[in-house]
Amino acid sequence: MYDKGAVIAGLAVFVVFFSFPFWYNTGSAAYKQPQPELPKNSKQCVESKEWMRAEHMQLLNTWRDDVVREGMHEYTSTANGQVFNKSLVKTCMKCHDSKEKFCDKCHTTMDVNPYCWDCHVAPKEAK
């Protein structure tokens, strides 16, 4: 084999980089499912809890384009036929009134940074 040293060194560097997430996180606390605080003043979201957990980003994306670009403001729930105003702040955050205790719970654990709150104003946190 030509350039044995260089090839093996290169492979070693590759393996170290590739396994970075594993050895970097060894010893840190085990994953615990985040527990976002559910609203007290209402029982039912616009769709079922399971669906929302998986699809809320797509839903918000669609709502955004519908409202901003097409002027369509009404959303009819497929769960119970109820009609909602398509609005993050005026609908979602009216029930989920704390960003810290709801949105951030999962987003922090998952280390995702949606840019919603660069523009949209989160409700004031109760101290």
């Binding site: 901003v68 670009r69 097409e70 002027g71 403001h73 009404e74 702040v89 840019y115 523009c119 949209h120």
Partner: protein, 264 residues
């Protein structure tokens, strides 16, 4: 046998091409009844047609230059800027949705110094919501677009901040977020989003208020100096005023057909 298969494939290929034309052409320029966004060309977008909001064929605004006083102007500006979270920046990188400007700046081609009150008198300027908006024509991402009721909208989620629309606007109605606006907003109103650094913004004729059945903020506090209504409705208040008083628009020679009329 060989020949017929060949022939069949040719015809089938052509047919597929033909069938694909219709949906493709529809995608390229979707507008009218089907108000979805065209794949290629900027097209008119849907405006709410039902529900509790206010609807119009073509929204226009009238500004009575004689009724406006500096105090009223300031009230209009404050009402708009506070409720739309417009940041208060002192430098030349400032942001304005509606502001007061001397008449000789507003109508550089149409003023002379001997008009009553002189040309230093101010009036309000804002986005003209043109019928032929140059900003919409130049936007490379359709981030700024025109609704069927004439309102020129901004999609802050899509704007890439190229500022081509600012170069294209012949009225200087657009502002760019050179910096993060948040530190320059005293108390952000939660009902309306702020913007983020790197996007362009402007007046949207209070489309969010129209959807709730309310008139724009500036019109509401203008003490009758501003009016808002449907140009296409012959019975509307604005049509009656336009028919009875002399009005001008900014830079009519450019063919943009502004939706803001100034009563003289």
């Amino acid at each position: 046998m060989k020949n017929t298969r060949r022939k069949f494939l040719k015809v089938a290929g052509l047919a597929v091409l033909g069938w694909s034309m219709r949906p493709a052409s529809r995608l390229m320029a979707a507008h009218g009844a089907q108000s979805a966004e065209g794949l290629f060309m900027a097209s008119k977008h849907g405006a709410p047609k039902h529900g509790e909001g206010l609807h119009a064929g073509r929204w226009i605004m009238l500004i009575d230059t004689n009724k406006l006083t500096p105090a009223i102007e300031q009230k209009c500006i404050n009402a708009c800027h506070t409720n739309h979270n417009v940041p208060d920046i002192e430098t030349k990188q400032n942001i304005k949705w509606i502001w007061a400007e001397p008449l000789h700046n507003v109508f550089p081609e149409q003023m002379h110094e001997n008009i009553p009150g002189g040309t230093e008198r101010t009036t309000l300027v804002l986005c003209n919501h043109c019928t032929n908006p140059p900003c919409v024509r130049v936007c490379p991402t359709k981030a700024t677009f025109q609704r069927e009721d004439g309102i020129v909208m901004m999609d802050f989620h899509r704007c890439i901040g190229c500022r081509y629309c600012m170069a294209a606007c012949p009225y200087g109605s657009r502002s760019f977020n050179f910096m993060d606006p948040r530190p320059h907003i005293k108390d952000a109103i939660p009902e309306f989003p702020t913007r983020t650094k790197g996007v362009v913004e402007k007046c949207e004729f209070c489309s969010e208020r129209l959807a709730e059945g309310k008139l724009p903020y500036c019109v509401e506090v203008s003490e009758g100096a501003m009016m808002f209504g449907d140009l296409e409705d012959p019975e509307s208040e604005v049509r009656k005023v336009l028919a009875s008083r002399y009005s001008i628009r900014r830079k009519p020679e450019l063919g943009t057909e502004p939706g803001v009329y100034y009563l003289i």
